[in-house]
Point group: C2
Chain length 348, copies 2
């Protein structure tokens, strides 16, 4: 069923005139007679001829599309960032092409090639878990294509980026747990060789130190990945020890939700026996039982800032500078860690 | 900072030889001397020359990319469909470009144009809420580009599609509520002028009729949209009436979740006073309090079927036929409607 698109050549052949006459007639060039212009334009319409936009992009080096590469597509955080980028791009009359690297370095490289091949006018990207080599990002920069990294970035490149202040956010989360009377605060983080969440770990350690609490190695648990199951399994192990933690801080909501499942399974009370805080304020955290305290990273702000940095480069290429924007997070206290509220409820 | 990509012409100028010699040298054509081939190839490497993949796609009519247009990107259902399409495409060595129409007919049309311009080898699409005109889909078909519609489809086109059996699924949901002893079963559906969910409404009406229950118009509530807030507002109104329903079936999980919030607000018990069932088994429905009975539409199966139908057209274009695949849904009973389980618990 393949059928090639109609070209100027097809029209020229049908009318037995030259390609350049057709081309000029379609552009309504007055060097061509009114009659010929009419004939050509009518036949073009009838055959469903459309000017080839890639050919136009090849000539003008403008596709009016930007590309966004995200590590995951099934993620409220990344989906919300993309949605906001789309809103900004819409405002500029640009289309947004989204590709998921699915946390694969190889797919991330290939996605960059695909977007470059499609003459994307700019690329916004969050690195995959696997990415440790940045040649593909350098390649984008060297080609002169505007690029902005967000959330999962690297200091190894001189590139515009939008990051959240994970250190301060994690510090606040731990400080809140201390205020609720917790002293043995465990940390659920990712595998040791994965850099993601390193700043959250740093914030945890700083807050523990500021409160003169020992951040013992047995309180820091490297989960096998970032899933609910991994958080549940890690918490089961933590709870089987002699000295039980009185709070668990998961560096993702899924890890925190896994912790909650393991705590419930053990018949312990949340937040009285163990308080729990997650990270990134997924929809789920708001509807769980108990509702889960979490960190709002403001994905809308991240998406907007990244898109604005990109369009600054696209539209003012000569004057655009490399910028780093830091988005502040916000701690949202919910049932899973609100011991004081629970006490108040019991007193009344 | 714009820097044009290196072209064959740049190499030819630097070496003061013809473009066609460079082109042939890069293809290692033996009509060109070994020395010239070496010089050209080394310079090309040094300058970072890359063959222009769009130019290749323009010639070969193959981009090895497929496009997916979804109405929403912040949706576990659509994101999961996309993820599965990506897995199938990966297996065939194809890239997937995703565009969200954001429920806008105009953006859907533009997205089709962008993908056609990028020489997508095929398109998978779920229609936006607004789409009532299908000229853009016909345009894809007429160009010979393989296309598959999924979930939000239309009978007005002769096109391959993957749909779920929403009628049977909704029938099962209502039948389950009847088995739990419910008689006054309300339906929360979308705005009257929106066709989405029409088959779910049909299933509801069929089940009511099969059980000799009157599907009175006052039991059928057209919400202002498909959000939690709309479901909550509709349920508030339903509960303020003299004759209260004893069950609510929301044609989306968000509508059901809104219903649950309104029921709780009124101090009524779920499922004893009012049982609730939603549709599409979002993650949230599994973690809510109470957990929400829902319909699993198997987005993975939908994505796989759609991708396979598309690749059948791409790879066997001569023999591919237009097919309609129906994916059966599954009712998952959880706390929000499991009255019998609750009774058993109370007896023991």
């Amino acid at each position: 069923m393949t059928q090639k698109p109609i070209t100027i050549k097809d029209i020229a052949e049908k009318l037995n005139i030259s390609v350049s006459t057709v081309s000029r007639a379609l552009k309504d060039n007055h060097e061509i007679s009114a009659q010929t212009r009419k004939t050509v334009q009518e036949l073009a319409k009838q055959l469903g001829y459309k000017p080839n936009p890639i050919a136009v992009a090849l000539k003008t080096h403008k596709s009016h599309s930007i590309g966004v590469i995200v590590p995951q597509i099934v993620s409220t955080f990344f989906a919300t960032v993309v949605k906001t980028i789309e809103e900004v791009a819409d405002g500029h009359g640009y289309n947004v092409l989204v590709i998921s690297s699915n946390e694969s370095f190889q797919k991330e490289q290939k996605s960059v090639e695909v977007l470059m091949a499609n003459r994307a006018d700019g690329i916004i990207l969050a690195l995959s878990h696997e990415t440790k080599d940045y040649e593909h990002i350098k390649m984008i920069q060297e080609s002169g294509t505007p690029i902005v990294l967000f959330d999962r970035t690297t200091n190894e490149l001189n590139v515009s980026r939008v990051v959240t202040d994970g250190v301060t956010a994690a510090f606040q989360a731990v400080q809140h747990l201390v205020s609720e009377g917790c002293k043995k605060i465990a940390l659920l983080c990712g595998p040791e060789n994965v850099a993601i969440g390193g700043n959250r770990m740093e914030g945890y350690e700083k807050a523990m130190e500021a409160n003169h609490l020992p951040a013992k190695t047995e309180l820091i648990w490297h989960c096998s990945d970032f899933t609910v199951e991994a958080g549940k399994e890690a918490t089961r192990q933590l709870l089987s020890r002699k000295e039980r933690p009185d709070a668990i801080f998961g560096i993702t909501d899924d890890l925190a939700i896994g912790a909650i499942e393991a705590i419930k399974e053990k018949g312990l009370n949340i937040p009285e026996d163990i308080a729990v805080v997650g990270f990134s304020n997924t929809k789920r955290s708001r509807y769980m039982n108990p509702t889960v305290s979490s960190i709002n990273q403001f994905p809308e702000k991240i998406g907007r800032a990244a898109a604005e940095l990109l369009f600054d480069q696209i539209l003012n290429s000569k004057h655009a500078q490399i910028k780093k924007e830091i988005i502040n997070c916000e701690l949202i206290v919910r049932e899973s860690s609100d011991r004081l509220c629970k006490t108040r409820q019991m007193l009344t």
